[in-house]
């Protein structure tokens, strides 16, 4: 193909302008905080999200529904082997959930009860403190978030979490996902994951999946808002939190 100097300059000039405009648009659109901040208008917001577990109403059947709902929505693999299992929410007896408060003369009703445990979304999260890549961090609404695409799989957060709330993908989790949810990402081998208080659902104006499935046994709300349901319960009921003496200030409360 023959082109003269004039034509060449025309094409070169035009493509440069298109390139600059395209690049500029990309920079604008993809700028950090631009895409992310486009929340839907019905998004739920809080200063500090918190959860109350009404352990009397949270019976085993109820708990199973909560766990099932969470694990299905978040593509959590079902791996039977306790060494490599991945779990976001599960049941533990009192002595495991509250080992520092364990008491051999505990009331039988408490001894027999099992407690729903998940990430405590601590106000001072040790996991976020130690993460060398900021792949886990505390959001402004108090949620301790996890970016599985930035995680390098060093597992420092697992050593740091005093609640055993974090799971590592010791193998590719995808073959172990029973019924996949195409709206939520699956994880790869070699990254850490955990409960995120359903940050993605809150953004759509939905309550966390477990709360929705709990028939009122889980109460979710803004701890910083003294008029919230959560605060009303805390004012009127005796609640406990896990390993409070460690100073992590958990956002999950248990009515016993």
């Amino acid at each position: 193909m023959d082109i003269n100097r004039r034509e060449f300059l025309k094409i070169a000039g035009a493509s440069t302008i298109v390139g600059i405009l395209g690049g500029w648009t990309a920079v604008e659109v993809l700028a950090p905080g631009e895409l992310e901040s486009r929340q839907s208008p019905q998004a739920l917001n809080a200063k500090r999200w918190a959860m109350v577990v009404d352990t009397k109403r949270m019976d085993e059947a109820n708990a199973r529904n909560c766990i099932e709902a969470c694990h299905r929505i978040h593509n959590v693999p079902s791996i039977d082997d306790t060494k490599s299992e991945v779990k976001w929410v599960w049941l533990e007896p009192f002595e495991h959930a509250f080992p520092l408060s364990n008491n051999e003369y505990l009331a039988e009703s408490i001894k027999e009860r099992r407690f729903l445990v998940f990430c405590n979304h601590c106000d001072d999260p040790p996991c976020a403190r130690v993460c060398p890549t900021k792949a886990t961090w505390k959001r402004e609404d108090g949620i301790v978030m996890m970016d599985q695409h930035r995680c390098i799989g060093c597992r420092y957060c697992m050593a740091a979490c005093p609640y055993g709330s974090r799971s590592y993908n010791w193998k590719d989790p995808r073959p172990f996902i029973k019924k996949g949810n195409p709206d939520y990402p699956t994880r790869s081998n070699g990254v850490v994951e955990k409960c995120t208080f359903c940050a993605e659902r809150l953004d759509q104006g939905l309550m966390p999946a477990c709360v929705e499935a709990s028939k009122g046994a889980l109460i979710f709300g803004d701890l910083a808002d003294s008029a919230s349901e959560v605060r009303e319960i805390l004012r009127t009921h005796y609640t406990i939190r896990r390993k409070l003496s460690l100073g992590t200030d958990p956002s999950v409360f248990y009515m016993v």
Binding site: T82, K83, L100, P126, Y168, W170
Partner: protein, 385 residues
């Protein structure tokens, strides 16, 4: 200078060949682990660090111990260490390479490692580790290379080496302190959450590193025409002995504050490690082996006659080295995870995969060390002639 590593006797190449094969087997095994997932390790949700991270900690200590020869020689002008300083520095270089490789094989997404630099997090000890370990390696490469090159040309070393040497001294203490901070700052892991973890790491480093250096020097003396000097090794042996005594003393201190206060969260890991907890005691025989070797090695080293006999000295140093490796390179990491945050006990046994990869990384480190030592020895042999 590097060409000196490329010529050698048949025996030299046989040794290199063995190390090369072991490294290759380790690397292949790592690739299998990489693509099938870390399920091939013995690690679990509860014990999420094991053999690899233990070895990393141990070899950072070996690297830091170069300061034991550098400080007396360059700062206090202790001439005896002049013949072994470069061997200590090269040992540090290889040890950092080993430590780095252990981190690399441990993490789940090694190709994302640069995220540590891309999103710098000064609050994380691992971020600092990533910065200071390569710098320490570079310092030792520059110092040892510079000094050796000057020796080769029979001229005094360049002036810029002196400040690097002075920087490398606190830097050595720094790398081991930061690796202690990786553990000591964790919430709810009382076994590690002790202010003397860094001092313990340092004294065990000052025992294990020089012990290895002594063994290396005795081998060099036997196998080559270069004699590192009896007096230097004797002096190093005294340092190993005292460091080991302090190491044992620090463990006694841990026992006192844990068991006298009697707070269960403080005693449980120690109980698991030394006596077994709730019927679980996989590490008990290991830690007592370590204690026995420590006492035997130290007892031998305090006897002047042993320090003067090469074979006995090497044997005593091997006891110390193995003892510290068992304690710090394995038990220390695992015991910190037991009991779990849920007060349950999951034990850990390294898998065959982990063992083969570990041997492979050791071989890679020794491969590097062999090349570096070959260069240093051939320069020094010529200097004698």
């Amino acid at each position: 200078m590097i060409e000196r590593a490329l010529t050698g006797s048949k025996r030299y190449w046989e040794w290199i060949g063995i190390l090369f094969v072991l490294s290759a087997v380790g690397m292949m095994t790592y690739l299998v682990q990489r693509f099938s997932g870390a399920e091939s390790t013995g690690l679990s949700r509860d014990v999420s660090w094991g053999l690899f991270i233990g070895n990393y900690t141990f070899f950072v200590g070996v690297a830091a111990s170069a300061v034991i020869v550098v400080l007396p020689y360059y700062v206090h002008d202790y001439k005896e260490f002049g013949r072994i300083a470069v061997f200590g520095e090269f040992l540090a270089v290889a040890a950092i390479a080993i430590a780095g490789l252990f981190i690399f094989v441990d993490i789940g997404q090694p190709l994302r490692s640069f995220n540590i630099l891309l999103h710098p997090t000064p609050g994380s000890p691992l971020f600092w580790d990533t910065i200071i370990l390569p710098v320490y390696m570079a310092l030792n490469v520059l110092i040892a290379w510079g000094v050796l090159e000057a020796e080769e040309k029979s001229i005094p070393p360049c002036g810029w080496i002196k400040p690097l040497i002075y920087i490398s001294i606190p830097w050595a203490i720094g790398i081991q302190t930061v690796s202690a901070f990786v553990y000591a700052g964790l919430t709810g892991r009382e076994f590690w959450n002790t202010a003397i973890l860094a001092p313990r790491f340092l004294v065990s480093a000052f025992a294990s590193g020089p012990a290895l250096l002594i063994v290396m020097c005795i081998l060099i003396k036997r196998l080559t025409g270069f004699d590192p000097g009896k007096k230097a090794l004797g002096q190093l042996a005294v340092i190993v002995a005292y460091s080991m005594i302090l190491n044992l003393f620090f463990i006694v201190l841990e026992f006192f504050s844990s068991f006298y206060s009697g707070i269960p969260s403080h005693t449980q890991s120690l109980e698991y490690l030394f006596f077994g907890l709730d019927g679980h005691g996989m590490l008990v025989p290991w830690i007592w082996t370590s204690v026995t070797l420590a006492i035997a090695g130290t007892a031998l080293l305090v006897v002047p006659r042993v320090r003067k006999n090469d074979a006995m000295l090497a044997a005593a140093c091997i006891l110390v080295f193995v003892s510290v490796w068992i304690d710090k390179g394995f038990c220390m990491v695992v015991a910190g995870f037991i009991p779990s945050p849920m007060a349950t006990i999951t034990e850990y046994v390294p898998s065959l995969f982990e063992v083969i990869i570990t041997i492979g990384i050791w071989a890679m480190g020794f491969l590097m060390l062999s090349f570096l030592y070959k260069i240093a020895i051939s320069v020094k042999e010529e200097a004698i002639i």
